[in-house]
Amino acid sequence: MAKSIETLEKSIKDVPKAKKPESKKNWFSWGLLAPVLFFFILMSVLPTIWMFGLAFYDYTLTSANKPKLIGFKNFFDFLANQQLAGSVSRTFIFLLCAIILQTFLGILIGVLFWKNDKMPGRRIALTLFFTPMVVTPIATSLFWKFILDPTLGVINYFVSVLGFERFDTLTDRTLAFPTLVFVDTWMWTPFMTLMTLAALGSVPKAELEAARIDRLPLIRLIKTVIWPHAKFILGLGILLRTIDAFKTMDLAYVLTGGGPGDRTELIAVSLYRFAFKSFKLGYSSAVSVFLLFIAIALTAIYLYILNARKKAEE
């Protein structure tokens, strides 16, 4: 009996597979991918390889010396660089402050709008509220520069009316960093609100209704009904903000230029300065490689949460 099954299996294996349509399908599926792969290789893979290559060279545009292969020296230099370590840790402090504030405010405002799903003019109110996050950071920082200006700015006008000394937040050593966090919070709190609304929207209506009928206390409602559904989207929101805050460059560059001193010098700003102010292309590429790996790690975490959500829903 066992033997006959074995032979049967073998004979099934020996049957030539219907290969032709399979390979034709394969050809077609890759053909459809070809244009995207073309752009991907030309405009993503090639520059990445180029960047990896540059990172091993001593290459400064302004120096007369020819680019020289120096192995891992750029990486060691970069790891030993105190100033850069400073901007990395500053970026993390910035990230932490900005994201905690934005998440907290975002959730509060999100719940407010969620509770008010029938308020008059909700769509217009949300439009006004969401505007800060779609304005390009260049415009945002210029706008705030105008508003915070020590002599012309409208905020300082009110400060002086209230009888206080006018202050220049953007060049003040202690105030510059909090101001950057503040402007970033103004820009991105709406995003966390948007994510909160989406997270709350992902809770099935039936479960909410059941909880309402059972008169579930608020804390248990959040813990047992809302949180299990909402945590994924909220997590994705926080992670996206992390990624974005870590990329912050235009905002800080125009608003404070990294100053005063290095008080608001975030990692992306340093990087830009290395490349386009001191033209150390090799060195800046080494830093870029480091940032690339951070970005890939963050993407992996992001997809992990996304998949966890998919699994939980099934």
Binding site: M43, I109, P120, V134, L142, L291, A295, Y302
Partner: protein
């Protein structure tokens, strides 16, 4: 009718208060932008004065003056050309790729999707050097071809992610039925399936335009006088001659922001999917 009576019965007290709060917060967040818009309509002499002017006779002088500068209009034209050009190409090629990912799942689909997404998560400043050199080498600097190629890749990850999401939601039965009836693959892709993912196409079109429209660093480094867009124009135009020309910033800023406000109003339901690069869909 029944519904209206029911509505009227609802307690107006706390809801009113919350509504007021929500409106108040919205206005508070919009206030800085509103201040810039109002500045654009102020008479020139009352923009850079020490107690700020709150009441004034609106005038279009600043805006017409800003537009009369040599390259202001050019910035807008450049922005429109490269953003619409690249996003159109990106959506076309992304649809093909997303269809392939969704229907045939070629080996490495997940990995490719992962790589595509990660390209959008790298700080722009990290990549600008290799692009800068590559563009110099290939003589693509300050050319539409170069910028459009770059922005096409810039728009592809989001488009692929969002279109794959929508395509996965459409039953394969449509494809199978089409095949049984002898329709060609192209007919199925473009005549049967494409109309069903319209929301995905709209969302990726609108938001990629928005992202490309807002992009600064690459346009600044890879472009030139012939291809600089609005953000670069704002940046360089604002610092002409040392001091910042606030009338110019406010006028161009206003012309720049108003279309964005209209876009958010019109496409609010796509905002979520747009800002999460097509990875999250849901209601707001």
């Amino acid at each position: 009718m029944a519904e209206t009576t029911f509505k009227a019965k609802r307690k107006p007290g706390p809801i009113r208060f919350a509504t007021l709060g929500a409106w108040g917060i919205s206005l508070l967040f919009f206030l800085p932008v509103a201040w810039i818009i109002s500045t654009a309509f102020k008479p020139k002499e009352s923009i850079v004065v020490s107690p700020p002017v709150f009441f004034f006779k609106p005038t279009f002088n600043n805006i017409t003056e800003a537009l009369s500068f040599d390259n202001t209009l050019d910035y807008f034209i450049h922005s429109i050309v490269y953003s619409f050009g690249s996003v159109t190409i990106a959506i076309l090629v992304s649809y093909l790729a997303a269809y392939s990912f969704s229907r045939y799942k070629p080996a490495g689909t997940d990995f490719l999707m992962f790589l595509l997404l990660s390209t959008r998560f790298v700080p722009a400043a990290a990549f600008v050097v290799p692009y800068f050199q590559l563009f110099n080498l290939l003589k693509l600097k300050d050319s539409y071809i170069g910028l459009i190629a770059f922005y096409t890749m810039f728009s592809i990850p989001f488009s692929v992610w969002i279109l794959k999401g929508f395509l996965d939601g459409i039953s394969q039965r449509y494809d199978e039925t089409g095949l049984v009836y002898g329709a060609s693959r192209w007919h199925i892709m473009f005549k049967v399936i494409l109309p069903q993912v319209k929301p995905g196409l709209v969302a990726s079109f609108v938001f990629n335009i928005l992202f490309v429209w807002n992009e600064f660093l690459f346009n600044f480094q890879l472009g030139g006088a012939k291809t600089f867009g609005v953000p670069v124009g704002l940046f360089t135009g604002s610092t002409k001659g040392g001091a910042i020309d606030w009338a110019y910033v406010a006028s161009i800023g206003t012309l720049y922001v108003l279309p964005l406000v209209v876009v958010i109003y019109a496409f609010q339901k796509y905002l979520l999917v747009g800002l999460t690069f097509g990875t999250v869909r849901g209601e707001v």
